[in-house]
Amino acid sequence: MSGAGLTQIVVYWLALLLLALPLGAYMARVYEGRATFAQRVLGPIERALYRMFGVRAGAEHGWRRYAVALMLFNVLGLVLVFLLQRVQLWLPGNPNDLPNVPPQVAWNTATSFATNTNWQAYGGETTMSHLTQALALGVQNFVSAATGMAVLVAVVRGFTRRHAEHVGNFWVDLTRSTLYILLPLSILLAILLVARGVPMTTGGHATAHLLQPAGHVDEQHLALGPVASQIAIKQLGTNGGGFYNANSAHPFENPTPLTNFFECLALLLIPAALCFTFGALVKNRRQGWGLFVAMFVLVLPFLILAVHQEAGNMEGKEVRLGESASALWATATTAASNGSVNSMHDSYTPLGGLAPMVLMQLGEVAFGGVGSGLYGMLMFAIVAVFISGLMVGRTPELLGKKIEAFEMKMATLAILVPCLATLAGTALACVAGETPGALANPGPHGFSEVLYAFSSQANNNGSAFAGLTASGDFYTTAGGICMWVARYWIIIPVLAIAGSLARKKTIPASAGTLPTDGPLFVVLLVGTVLLVGALTFVPALALGPIAEQLGGAP
């Protein structure tokens, strides 16, 4: 690793922490309804929205009603995304005359964007019209992120309330997340990106005369469109779906080292800040720090591995960004369940590619998706206190709430569902007739492409070993099911836990209570995440990246 590479990585983490702390505090105020300045400006819009929805901000519900509202909203969103893709040719906002998206790809994409995955079985500039990008995909970028944040807030209420039947109002949490957090940050970042070179126009493409005409090609058509607005939210909302096929490796999506720095910061910003939001909301700031440190400790070894392995590998990377900034992004985008890329992960060295793959397989809890990363991590925290409770023979507690059989069942479900979806999807793909034709690379790396695809979709990440052709019937269907299951079969058990915890009383801490905000708990938590990940995925990894590494060059 070069000195310059190391410097930019250190600067990155410092900047992230410096931005996450105030944002975390701000978000806590938003969810408590105390963000006075923002509410003065945006409050009228918020109240107008509630009037239109026909809801009262003060009316709260139990977890079942909360879950039903969330599911209904997500299903309707999915249907709208599907339909818009199917008729885009006949709608305005399609200057490059792109045809309607085939049904299988449209289903996969609709599921992908509704579940905050943004797996792309298509090339952006060759498939989606401007209208589809903004009205279907862009909207889901916002509301799928806001959905994750809403679930997290409901869980927080589970911890902070006693003898309560209600966990909140989904419409209020959804609206506040979008209006007060995602929208202002996106506008800010998008304008910054336009200023530094990211296009923002309604035009379809520009035509340039090549400096040196080559054979029959003497012109270059440059795909343009409303790019900047899309890029800002896809980074901030841990969505990741690019306007262009090459995602943030494309010079229009990510023109300079500076835009790269901001996009890479945006990618971890909200997930990191939510740790501090959590600390503020549960009135235990050390708890927020504990979660942040645990997440950082989980990411660090994989960051070092990727940066070290990728030094000197320029295949699939851009010169302006270089190896270090590319490996940093690859780690950050899979630590967060973002999935945008600024280099082609498929061309990484075996161990360089293993790092992002493992970060996804750990369940997207080391930072993870906005909201979803932290509620995923809290599921691991429940398991961690349970294991330590077994060791000392005490009823486990987390933040003063007794963890009992119901919470354990739900937490285990939430942790194991993505593992199952990853492995089952990979296994099925290995016997699918479509697979041999879909692989871009031979040998163990071919298997890695499949394993990566299902690790990504079953953990709602969205990045890919993109050589794999994922637009066939098997991959679009199986992948869509994995994304669906991995999103909602976690959200529903998590909300059930929120409901159950809210009903319980809070036990005051005693000498026998395991403090969950100290170093001991951080170690236990990190250990639990690594243990579950290792036990589940080492055999599969041995067949892919590890075999590729040991096999040497053919």
Binding site: V11, A228, H445, A466
Partner: protein, 194 residues
């Protein structure tokens, strides 16, 4: 359950519509308005206009094959290199024999075009970029080509070397990214030397 569902129908439908307008129309419209008003050059693709005609974008690479131009990085876009309507990387694995062959062939081409040059071939000049549209090469990759370009144009070596040096962009604030040379800009400057 049914009661919950019925009670959620109106808010769900209206919320989807409202957020579609707010985040799908109003938000892009704000960015579009600000972008077009304040940054119209970059908002429209950073186009380079010479003598009234568009000759490219500052940000997007172009293919060069003639010895008198500096060459860009290999591009994997289909159906031809540097197709800016369909960005793509090669996605070849490090362990893939096809990748080794491709690199070997590119090295051979560079050597054949400049027989006297014994400098090591810079990595970025023989590997495909992530986007297939990389506008830059490393300073080493530009210096590697100085001899060939100077000979093909009948220019003194020093003059071409100085032009390359003048086109090297450093790291942002000395920290971010990597030093680089924009190939099309360098080649336009070369053409302007005549």
């Amino acid at each position: 359950m049914t009661k919950d569902l019925l009670a959620s129908l109106r808010p769900a439908a209206v919320a989807l519509l409202a957020f579609t307008v707010l985040t799908g129309v109003v938000y892009p419209a704000i960015v579009l308005a600000v972008g077009q008003a304040a940054f119209s050059h970059t908002a429209n693709g950073s186009l380079v206009v010479e003598d009234g005609r568009v000759v490219g974008s500052e940000l997007i690479g172009q293919p060069f094959t003639e010895p008198r131009y500096f060459w860009s990085r290999p591009s994997a876009t289909a159906p031809f290199a540097y197709n800016a309507m369909a960005s793509a990387g090669a996605n070849l694995a490090v362990s893939n024999p096809a990748r080794r062959e491709a690199v070997a062939q590119r090295v051979a081409e560079l050597r054949a075009a400049d027989p006297g040059n014994t400098d090591p071939v810079p990595l970025d000049l023989v590997t495909a970029s992530g986007s297939g549209l990389d506008p830059d090469i490393s300073p080493a990759a530009a210096r590697f080509q100085v001899g060939r370009v100077a000979r093909a144009r009948g220019l003194p070596l020093e003059r071409v070397r100085a032009l390359v040096d003048a086109h090297v962009q450093g790291r942002t604030s000395g920290i971010l990214g990597e030093p680089r040379v924009n190939v099309a800009a360098l080649n336009r400057a070369l053409d302007a030397l005549r």
